[in-house]
Symmetry: D3
Subunit: 240 residues, 6 copies
């Protein structure tokens, strides 16, 4: 049962992680999962949210957006609609939790890092690309702080984190769904894992018929392999 | 390692499903998972959302809310804040997907059923109680339609759907987290499954350290058992 | 000219005041005027609104809401609409003024009590039920404070307050309008009075033709009797 | 007990009704109750609200606003705050009901008249001035329609409507409160009545201590006299 | 090619500047450019915007609004629409910049003056009338402060500022467009200049075909003459 | 008086116009004015705004946004703030008017083209870059329609349009301000002109002291030369 892109079931799209793409940001990365392109920046601010004041630790948060014509049909600009939709809020909460899962907030000190993930072009899997590229931007922001002796990068950043979506497409478990697959998949699951293989977040949804535990296990296996590959790419990107 | 409530690891709280609690609604159910009480109503409207007009099928959607003092500390009323928070939007999207997973929208016809889930009192697990009780309200709404020969309940409602949260609390996998456990759990996962054991939605989140696949599998096992029990309670409640 | 419910002109619906219904709130009361059910909670906070800071006195405020399917037709959730309607704002301002009319704000100290009135089921007279039940929740909150020696209940709470709606239905003055009467009444008036018979608020509106002063006086007389009865029920409820 | 303005208890401020002050509006009136100045316009539109379509009758509605520096201290512009406050909504609902009480909506036909009342300068009693002047603007709009044979003014406009606020100031019942009296009054009541003496709306509020029925009756008496005088002024203004 | 009003190409409408029209404001002016009437008030507040705190200087800002029936067709009230439109924001930013161009903010001290410009009646050129009248209100506010020795008017207010719109109407350059001309003009330009002839703001827009530099120069010449006349009228108005 | 960048007074930054950068859009262009990078897309929709229905012509509109970290300090995301700021609305209105100045809306037919200009990186002059690049995206969208015989590109697109900002920096007139110059300039002016030298829009603002007409004329001269160069670059870019 061939995939629209001709990929093997466990084959990801071409992934690239381009650092230093934003002149002003402390860290930045343009991540590409095939035709899905997300610009990630990490911005340091010497303040924390009100509810964290004088708590002796910092915060990492994320925001997500999509350019209106990142998609096949133009979507209404959320700034013009006057609010962020439920999907946007859900995704940016996920990215924020994923980043915080590998950060030691005490070691960060009373500061906030905001990881902005803006989808320049969408072809499925924007949230998983955002997490994978967002980590690189976060890493570079901590590098920037490290070189200024503001914080110890190795103490603050405990591990890698990356993500992939897998799904059941025409009855078969496949990795890294593109838009054509995503819109036709029976089941869609996002996995967020660390460099050491720990699970940060799992979200599986039956788009049509409920799925079985065996199917879910198959998706899990694909994700473990794909995320290990993504972590390797992150390591290459940061020149490690 | 005893649970604060003294329950066994696989033991749910006392669950009750009280039907017909809302005079005006086509279907209603007050669901209690221990001290978590959610009032679910199903409202039938002879119209569909604009994007579904003349498509020959209906829609089931859900809304979720919490009374300001359902919680230990009073929370700001979302109507007064001027918008629904990200958590609310996320939960009501989950409930809606769960309901639709067991409904044949063509058989429903060009109508909309809205399942409103309002938390009267919160003690953890409000979204899973809402799904479990929401199904009963939905069932009774379809019963109401069936008795008026508007639709065939057996054709529209394909299966049961129920949900439970499980988590790792002090290192042990336990079922149906209450608030004390939820706020201290290392990992929290919500499972939504059908009466025939199909999986509709899985969401697992590491609150602190990442979790292992073995831990996740343990939670899965607890959920399968708990949801089977909840489906039995639904069957008793609808007098089946 | 018989009333739809068969009641006598001066006869109220069955009224009940059920205390302690909300586990977390300092005071709570589920009030029923027939099929109108309002859940009232009183929440204590150790802060005052910004404009009252360091003024040496406290504040009592109220918020009002309605579950979407409390009514015959489902109404849009105000949290989803993004704002509270004019009717909601008008009612919650009335409830707040009514509560403050019997509270000594200096004796309360620099604290705020919020009385939340949420209509679980509506059948006319929700605002008057809310005031009547809100007082019981407020009383119990002050009891809670009294027993912790935070304030003297007898000094803070100066009197009872209760409310009823009366109207001209098919030419006759009747007490405690239910929904069927309310929607057909020529004139509708709400009265808020204290236990000692003082008037806190009077609002009379001609729905169709203007009314005469004699008609208004007849409504006033019905209200005085009904509110005296409601105050007696409050006394019984608080174990007086 | 002298009033700050030196007026007798039953003496209104100087009232003027200046017609035709807005070049574009079908009807307009600048009403002055002493230093309270309200610009009222009546605007005709050949459409009705969606819920009235094809119902064979029209609608009269009102909107109320206040220029930011109409008051002693500058108030935030509601357009900039992003919403109308509860007080504004309450007042414009009252004005609208008052206008509709003297209009035959069937005779008006499927059209809408909007009465805009904008407070140019405030010194107490803005809502009662708005009703009194709004009626003149409405009358002139119907005159405009009458002269174009669009509707019969005498059939549409059934009566006059005017309003006054009365209150207990330093223990005495006085008519037409100005700002100094209004902010110190123990009790404040607004009365809306027709030319033939029918009551459209009564609103009495205890600002401090509850008031007695005898006090309320005294206010009622003052209002009847004052409104009769206002109706006479309306008659003079429209050249009757 | 005669103008609809019969005016000469360089002839302004009748302009009047009426001071002291708002009882409560520190400075006020009702400015009339023909049938365009704008009520301008200047309000002093002993506070500055958050971003200016402890900066040792003050701020002057402006807000602009239009009564709903200032125009030929009733426009929706921005307070009811829930936001100020782009045109309103653009105009009030222009008025604010114009006022600040002639104010020494250090000499003002840590205070804010808000110039509110509310269009009572519109017939073209509301923003230029607002600037011209707003200056008078600002002047009188500074006079008020001067007489109370709060600030030196001569040090704070460095110059006059006034504005006019010019345009190409039926091929000819004309000054002070009224509504009939404005809606038919090919090119519309607003000029803001000081008493000493300095330029504060220039905005030229081709409504239809692009315009030439020669045409723009012709408009500029008309504006210089008109603004000099407006400054003379300001001088007469302040009795200087 | 050297410019921070070392450029000559009439020297623009390096300008590039990269076409076809957005896979999904009918036309797209990434425009760079030095370190200012704006992604422009043109999106065709087969519908017109409600007020243009059945008018026999189309519409061209524009929207403008900025990624949060396009700037030196992170700016709040407008989607999260819940509204577009005054500056954003002002800029997108300017871009829209500029595009429409060179489009024959009748020849376009009943369709809408939306030109989205999103600032990826900001270093001054974002609105003028957006107009210059937006024209290329618009051109390519019309090319796309032309090749599908939906409209005649040569009839719809009447001319080029491009823009530049000029200003007085340290007393000297310079072209194409970058951020360092823009924040220190005494006067800032934006010019929008067509390929045939017609003026579409002129906006000059005194940031500090008012400017003279001679200074403004100097800016105008620089702009005419710069825009002619930009039009040449557009011609090269579209392969002319």
């Amino acid at each position: 049962m061939p995939r629209p892109s001709g990929r093997m079931p466990d084959q990801m799209r071409a992934v690239s992680l381009e650092r230093g793409v934003a002149k002003h940001a402390e860290g930045s990365c343009l991540v590409r999962f095939g035709d899905t392109h997300v610009l990630c920046t990490a911005s340091l601010e010497e303040r924390v949210p009100p509810w964290l004041r004088n708590a002796g630790r910092g915060w990492v948060t994320a925001e997500y957006g999509m350019l209106p014509r990142a998609t096949g049909e133009r979507m209404r600009r959320e700034a013009s609609a006057g609010k962020q939709g439920g999907r946007t809020l859900e995704i940016q909460r996920l990215i924020g939790r994923s980043m915080r899962a590998v950060v030691d907030l005490e070691a960060l000190g009373e500061r906030q890092i905001t990881v902005d993930c803006d989808v320049i072009q969408a072809d499925g899997g924007t949230r998983t690309a955002a997490i994978t590229g967002g980590w690189v931007a976060l890493h570079d922001c901590l590098d920037w702080m490290h070189s200024r002796q503001m914080a110890s990068k190795t103490r603050v950043l405990k591990d890698h984190v990356a993500a992939v979506s897998c799904g059941i497409f025409k009855g078969e478990a496949v990795a890294d769904l593109d838009y054509d697959e995503d819109s036709a998949a029976e089941t869609d699951a996002n996995f967020v894992m660390t460099g050491s293989g720990g699970i940060v977040e799992v979200q599986g949804t039956a788009e049509g018929e409920p799925f079985s535990r065996a199917q879910f296990d198959a998706l899990f296996g694909l994700a473990e392999k794909a995320i290990a590959d993504l972590v390797d790419l992150q390591k290459q990107a940061i020149g490690g």
